[in-house]
């Protein structure tokens, strides 16, 4: 089964359990096992074409190894490096497989507050929009002769000239978004009907509980 077909809660459970186990289990063996599982997940067909997710995970984790070696001896570098790589690979895989709209549908289907899912999904969709706007503001201010280089004071003034229009324009969007939410009946306590709830099989539910049990058991074993 590819990552995209799994229930969003299962994806979150796997991405949460792997780093937890990496930190709980004794290093370096525990970290080596969890990093192997996490890297295999990034190779799952359907996560992204080719080796994109696997490569992204390795490239994101690589600088941490360099800085760890700069600051620590070899055994500590390996112990912490394997944990961080597990965390990075798990979340890179999660970001590639978790569709925000499916997460919203899953929380609605479960009867949870739609607010939390809305906040998460709305932020994910707002970031690229605001980043694009920020780039346009930078270009526009440069066309008007703004120089973002030179002394510290000059750079701070340039930062203000770039950041202020972005933040103010984003705040003006709040009213528009509030109106859109009200129009769609987004009031607290309202029960919503999911349009296409993701399938949540008994096997997946059992797997999520098993992951939680594994983390608790590992923690108890380590604390003994």
């Amino acid at each position: 089964m590819t990552g995209r077909r799994l229930h969003p809660f299962t994806l979150l459970a796997i991405a949460g359990a792997l780093p937890a186990l990496a930190w709980i289990l004794p290093a370096p063996a525990g970290g080596a096992c969890t990093v192997a599982v996490a890297l295999v997940l990034t190779l799952t067909p359907g996560a992204s074409p080719g080796l994109v997710v696997f490569r992204t995970a390795l490239l994101t984790a690589a600088p941490f190894w360099v800085f760890l070696r700069l600051l620590h001896d070899v055994p500590t570098t390996i112990a912490i490096g394997l944990r961080i790589t597990t965390m990075v690979a798990s979340f890179v895989w999660l970001a590639a497989t978790l569709a925000p709209d499916r997460l919203v549908e899953a929380t609605v289907a479960r009867g949870w507050s739609v607010t939390a899912a809305y906040l998460f999904a709305a932020t994910i969709t707002a970031v690229p929009t605001l980043r694009g706007r920020a780039r346009r503001i930078v270009e526009a201010q440069r066309c008007r002769g703004l120089s973002p280089r030179g002394s510290l004071g000059n750079r701070l003034r340039a930062l203000r000239a770039l950041a202020l229009p972005l933040v103010l324009s984003a705040l003006h969007d709040v009213d528009e978004r509030a109106l859109a939410l009200e129009t769609r009946g987004m009031v607290s306590g309202a029960r919503r009907t999911p349009l296409a709830p993701p399938a949540d099989s008994a096997v997946e539910r059992a797997a999520r509980w098993a992951l939680l049990a594994a983390c608790v058991a590992a923690l108890i074993w380590r604390l003994k």
């Binding site: 600051l71 906040l119 770039l162 978004r177 009200e182």
Partner: protein, 189 residues
């Protein structure tokens, strides 16, 4: 929570994550990743500020997973910003910048144990390099870790407070009045 405040949270979180484009343009060693949290708190109070901080960390985690454990810092930033807003410290740069410097110290004290215990002080390249500098200066591992966090946080939070003050003063009064805390934060109510 009103719909307007609910709509403010993702916008404020996205501001924190989008400001990196402006920071890259001026090539300053700043993060400004708490701007949205501080702004949301100054506009709408601690509940909205904390929610903004948590959402910012959650979404940032998808880009760089090492951000998640630092969600505690976002919550402390929101609580500190609330105290600053209640005291009207956003009324001018003269009050906002020292308040930001104070937050820099608190944020680095909070983030140091997380950075040290969980990541061995290697959360971002800049902090790792300043930690290495602290180590080269003869500081203990924990001291070097604090040095790295302090160098990055101290100026960053002062600039963030100054930027939020600029935004609050640039907001039209009619717009500011729609948010429950905005006028009090700038000392106008």
């Amino acid at each position: 929570m009103s719909i307007r405040l609910l709509a403010l949270i993702p916008v404020a979180a996205a501001i924190s994550l989008a400001l990196s484009a402006a920071v890259d343009a001026v090539a300053l060693p700043l993060f400004l990743d708490t701007t949205g949290t501080i702004l949301a708190t100054a506009l709408a109070g601690p509940g909205v500020g904390i929610a903004t901080g948590v959402v910012t960390s959650a979404v940032n985690t998808l880009r760089n997973p090492t951000f998640w454990p630092f969600v505690v810092v976002q919550i402390i930033v929101a609580l500190y910003a609330w105290a600053a807003a209640r005291a009207g410290l956003f009324r001018s740069f003269r009050t906002a910048v020292p308040a930001g410097l104070g937050l820099g110290v608190i944020a680095s004290v909070t983030s140091t144990p997380i950075s040290y215990l969980v990541f061995g002080c290697t959360t971002t390249g800049g902090i790792a390099l300043t930690t290495a500098l602290g180590k080269a200066l003869g500081l203990s591992p924990l001291g070097a870790c604090f040095f790295g966090s302090f160098v990055s946080d101290f100026g960053d939070k002062a600039v963030t407070f100054a930027l939020v003050t600029s935004v609050l003063h640039a907001l039209p009064r009619r717009t500011a009045a729609r948010f429950p805390w905005a006028l009090r934060a700038i000392g106008a109510a």
